[in-house]
Amino acid sequence: MNYQFPTIAETADTLSKRLENLDNKADILRAVELKALYDELRILPNDQKAAFGAEVNALRNSLQEQVESHQENEQALTPIDVTAPFDINSTIEDRPRLLPAEQGSIHPLMTELKSILDIFYRMGFTAVESREIDDDYHMFGALNFHENHPARDDYDTFMTKQTDANGKPFIAPAHTSSMQHRILKGYKNLLENDMPIAAVIPGRVFRNEDLDARHEHTFYQVEGVYVGRGVHVGNLIATLKTFLQEYYQKELEVKTQPFYFPFTEPSFEFALSCPFCDKAGCNICSQSGWIELLGCGMIHPNVLREAGVDPELYTGFAWGFGVERLVMMKYGIEDIRHFESAKLDFLRQFA
């Protein structure tokens, strides 16, 4: 850097030379010459103060950087051989080793996800992971959302500054349904061979929602898609009921409530009899005996058509449910924020 004020340029030169020989490099920041410049600044006429001050600060920052860079190099004074299995002069006793296995843990959400996917595998569903950044088309357009649908404005859905080829922002998916179109399109050749499309899609989704003990802006969903010939509402309810009975290892009752999603017709909210109290009423089901668990429905013909599947020949169903809630109910976890807290107090309970 070229300093315009001679006194500053001179000091910069002096200090830079002295720095080389200093044992404790940080001492340079306490040099009297530097302090003198700040003293000078105070008595300067007002019209020069700004320019002079800027240069003094620049000098100080430059010295600070040099000190830090020296410190970085200082540590590099003991170069290590990155290809060696252990450090020079280490003994058998102090060499690297693994932590005790009993401390290790898999995240409870991932454990649960695996057991969920395992059941669906056995039922014939392939697993595909959803995306964490998607576009307007997969999130809305391909799912029969009206161009002006409220979900498309940014009150509900996270959007990026960066835009896609159509000039629309990318989207942090608010549901795993954003994968439906890809699944239908990617596997439709199965239909031509008289095989159904059967896929489950786990993934991370995002909602513009304030955090509290029951609400997260980031959570996991499992989407399911099943399409074939003659697939009907009775199949949908039977499939989900069968899954849930296997998951909870007991007989359950299920019921539906009409709902509305743009991408299914008809749409339902799906509830199961509380597996924790067998409908007697408990805290988990808020004494109702029922747990509302997921949204589902028959895939809207427009969604099938958009993916090149003929809705006259093929019908299908889809569902989506959250994973956190299952895990919270199972273990009695009191605060959803624990999941992404990375607290060992929490995680090691699942060791």
Partner: protein
């Protein structure tokens, strides 16, 4: 949407089942019920009574001593010789002859019922016993008015039960609004009653005024000049209005006040209450303007209502007193000269109906749902009207409703009709028309999608019960239903919509359950999921803890680790700066969690995460979306006390975890480490290197592909994130690991002949890498026997004398077992000599 059980009962031709049963059926066949409130308990013991005498209490400026006739109904209360009860009342409107709601001793003040129940007694006021109290609307939880006692109009007998008389022995059923996203008709009692009739298999009888529009403008008074203009037909499919003159503004009759209060609407006056009543009945919001105020704004002899989009800079003071500048493009209602209402959202203060209003304009219109929603969101205004308009009310019902509501107002306020019914817009029914869309759907189509064989007559009657017209035809043996969609339904357009309607009215939960059948072909496994499972098992088995951290990070974290914000996807509507950017790598998120765990008392631990990273360079995948990098990150950290058990750099601890992992994947031999050199990276990948200490980090290679980085962290990173000194980790590309992963490990047969082992110690210049020494020794040992022996070379020691820093000694153990014969010590010694000579030649090594 709050509905009243008793109000629904008025509109259906059969006796409703008990509320519990009804609620269950509503849940199963209409939409989830949020809450059921029994309001009858609130009004237990309230008695309609007449004030038979009333005189001021001496020494009081407002109290009156009254005797009331309760028909002798209340028990356990002191009465005078005429059987009347003494009550002291301070209300300004108390007077002889008034019919009132009396709360006898022992009853609870209804407004206090839900909070802190206040039970009345007989107590002395100014020396006079007051038995209970005469209630105000506020005390009865009917309205806000506490200015006086409730004056009961109409023909009621003293002693009548207040709750029974006004049907307050009622249940309020709150159905979740989101159930009706596509059912604007169900935001009215009429719509819900119609569905309930349909659910119970009864044909719904439409009220005459709703089924057919009949203009009846009597009594007709002198005209009030009025015109309307619709300048935004694309957003306002219909705008209707008429004028009424000589309205007497007063409280609505108690019947309507209590009716509205049951569902949570505060009665205001007979005109505003009428608009609310019809909105709750039909789902169509209405608005009443003070005619004279509207006309005065233009200083004209004619009042004008214009529906249009806003012009720039227009202002409006709303009913709630706030002045706003309506968003550009919002639909507004204006006179010729100024905006007077934010259409569909909130009316304006300047034309509000007040106690002095003499003439009114009643407006009923349909506004574009998306425009209304946007206006509501932009201005943060949420009203019952918005809730309804943003579902897209049918424009075809406006004429019925404006007619019925104005007749109601005329009845309740004595007003006369003072204009024709004005109607500007594009969507209206022709005379005699009741359906607006036709959908034909085969019976097979319905049955196949519901998995149940419906009879044509069954399906037809389910639909006809709720107002669809249904004709059936037989097309080549295929029964087809030809369905006419009634004018109030906006949601039935395609055959699948009819399937839903039939299924719902029949009951989805009554459909037979049947699992899909499939071929025995196994479901295809997803190799990435298999890999991730394996990594989780390996690392958790190695004592590491899997964490999940947010996909979004704070810009400050990028600053701390030296990543470029411009290379991150950033959210325009982040909840907070903490979550503004998509992360470019996982490790920083893990490092961010180290300090809290150290502070929580964990001396040493390894955190790992399997997740995604995104770099905002311009590369997009084929379908136009950004590349997602699947990563594994692990961080090992130990506080100074725990770190003492490890000799040397933390780097080696991370490397040990890495090698353990690679070995589990069967790819340890294919991976090489070399000192981290940023120059070897493409720009987009440099973000992955910034956190590492330049002399304590390595690039992880497979051939000439980079699969990750490993190392300790720069002191600036350590400082910013308060990391302990003993801290290192790695981050790997999972797609690369997936490519390399060996599902079958390499196995070698066990030799029958004994194993011979010898150690070799080589003194090499310090900069010579261990890898170079190992490769030479291992290579020569393998070459010497080829396939005829099983050779393993493993490290024993790396040693350096204090006084000899220029050199280090590497000791390796060579172990050989032949498949053919027993090896002699001499030949192995010979091999070691050869290796030593070669090492001296190429590595300047000296055998020790």
């Amino acid at each position: 949407m709050k509905i009243s059980y008793n109000w629904i009962q008025e509109y259906v031709d059969f006796e409703l089942p008990p509320v519990g049963e009804l609620v269950e059926r509503i849940g199963a066949q209409l939409g989830a019920v949020e809450e059921v409130i029994d309001i009858s308990k609130k009004y237990q013991g309230v008695i309609i009574s007449r004030i038979v005498s009333c005189r001021p209490v001496e020494d009081s400026d407002h109290l009156n001593l009254c005797f009331i006739d309760d028909g002798g109904v209340a028990g356990d209360v002191e009465r005078n010789e005429s059987g009347h009860v003494q009550v002291v009342c301070g209300a300004p409107n108390v007077r002889e002859g008034l019919m009132v709601a009396w709360l006898p001793p022992g009853s609870t003040v209804p407004s206090s019922f839900d909070k802190d129940p206040f039970v009345l007694g007989a107590r002395k006021l100014r020396g006079y016993v007051s038995n209970g109290m005469i209630a105000s609307p506020q005390e009865l939880a009917i309205g806000d008015s506490h200015d006086g006692i409730l004056e009961i109009d109409g023909d009621y007998q003293p002693g009548a039960d207040f709750a029974a008389t006004f049907k307050l022995n009622d249940y309020v059923i709150d159905i979740e609004n989101k159930m009706f996203t596509h059912r604007p008709d169900c935001f009215g009692i009429l719509g819900v009653a119609r569905e309930i009739a349909g659910i119970y298999g009864h044909a719904f009888t439409e009220p005459d005024w709703y089924e057919v529009f009949t203009a009846d403008l009597s009594p007709r008074g002198d005209d009030l000049p009025l015109r309307i203009r619709n300048e935004a037909v694309e957003l306002v499919p219909r705008l209707m209005a008429l004028a009424l003159r000589n309205v007497a503004i007063k409280a609505s009759s108690v019947w309507y006040q209590t009716l509205l209060s049951r569902i949570g609407i505060r009665p205001i006056n007979n005109i505003v209450d009428a608009t609310n009543y019809y909105m709750y009945l039909t789902g169509q919001p209405l608005h009443a303007y003070d005619y004279d105020k509207v006309r005065a704004l233009d200083g004209s002899d004619i009042a004008t209502l214009v529906a249009r989009r806003t012009a720039a800079g227009e202002k409006l003071t709303l009913l709630n007193g706030k002045e706003i500048e309506p968003r550009e493009g919002a639909i507004v209602i204006a006179t010729e000269t100024q905006v007077i209402g934010l259409a569909g959202v909130m009316g304006g203060a300047e034309t509000e109906v007040d106690v002095d209003t003499k003439n009114i304009i009643l407006e009923s219109a349909t506004f574009d749902m998306y425009s209304i929603r946007k206006t509501s969101m932009v201005h943060g205004l949420f009203s019952e009207a918005v809730t309804r308009f943003n579902k897209g009310q049918s424009p075809y019902q406006n004429d019925r409703i404006v007619m019925a509501a104005s007749r109601f107002m005329s009845r309740e306020s004595g007003a006369e009709f003072a204009s024709d019914i004005l109607d500007e817009g594009e969507l209206r029914l022709a005379d005699g028309q009741t359906t607006v869309t036709n959908v034909s759907v085969g019976l097979d189509f319905i049955s196949e999608r519901l998995g149940y064989r419906f009879e044509a007559a069954t399906a037809a009657s389910l639909l006809a019960n709720v107002g669809f017209t249904v004709d059936t035809s037989d097309d080549d043996g295929q029964e087809v239903l030809h369905i006419g969609v009634p004018f109030w339904r906006t949601d039935i357009e395609i055959a699948e919509d009819v399937v839903e309607e039939v299924g719902r009215l029949y009951g989805f939960d009554r459909l037979p359950l049947e699992l899909p059948t499939r071929m025995m072909a196994p479901a295809v496994t997803n190799p990435m999921f298999v890999l991730k499972d394996q990594l989780r098992n390996t690392l958790s088995g190695a004592g590491a803890n899997e964490v999940l951290t947010y996909s979004f990070v704070h810009g400050k974290l990028f600053d701390a680790i030296g990543q470029d914000k411009a290379m991150a996807y950033s959210l325009t509507n982040a909840l907070s700066p903490d979550l503004q950017y998509y992360r470019q790598s996982l490790t920083p998120s893990l490092l961010d969690k180290v300090y809290a765990n150290v502070r929580a008392g964990y001396g040493q631990f390894a955190l790992f995460e399997l997740g995604k990273a995104h770099i905002a360079d311009s590369t997009l995948l084929e379908d136009g979306v950004p590349v997602e990098f699947e990563q594994l990150s692990l961080v090992f950290a130990a506080d100074p006390k725990s770190a003492k058990q490890y000799g040397g750099a933390a780097y080696y601890q991370a490397q040990y975890y890495l090698m353990n992992l690679l070995s589990q994947l069967g790819i340890q031999q294919q991976v090489r480490l070399s000192a981290l050199n940023v120059e070897g990276y493409q720009d987009a990948d440099k973000a992955k290197t910034t956190i590492y200490h330049p002399s304590r980090a390595a690039t992880v290679w497979s051939g000439d592909t980079i699969i990750g980085e490993i190392g300790e962290y720069k002191s600036s990173v350590r400082k910013a994130l308060k990391l302990p000194e003993y801290c290192a980790g790695f981050e790997l590309d999972l797609h690369a690991l997936l490519q390399l992963r060996q599902t079958i490990k390499q196995y070698k047969a066990l030799p029958k002949f004994p194993k011979t082992g010898q150690d070799i110690c080589l003194r090499v210049p310090t900069p010579t890498s261990y890898q170079a020494v190992y490769d030479l020794v291992s290579g020569m040992a393998q070459d010497a026997y080829g396939e005829h022996a099983l050779v393993t070379v493993s490290p024993l020691d790396i040693f350096q004398r204090d006084a000899d820093e220029a050199y280090k000694q590497i000791t390796l153990r060579i172990s050989i077992a032949s498949y053919q014969r027993t090896l002699t010590d001499a030949e192995v010694s010979k091999l070691l000599d050869d290796i030593a000579n070669k090492a001296a030649e190429t590595l300047q090594a000296e055998r020790v």
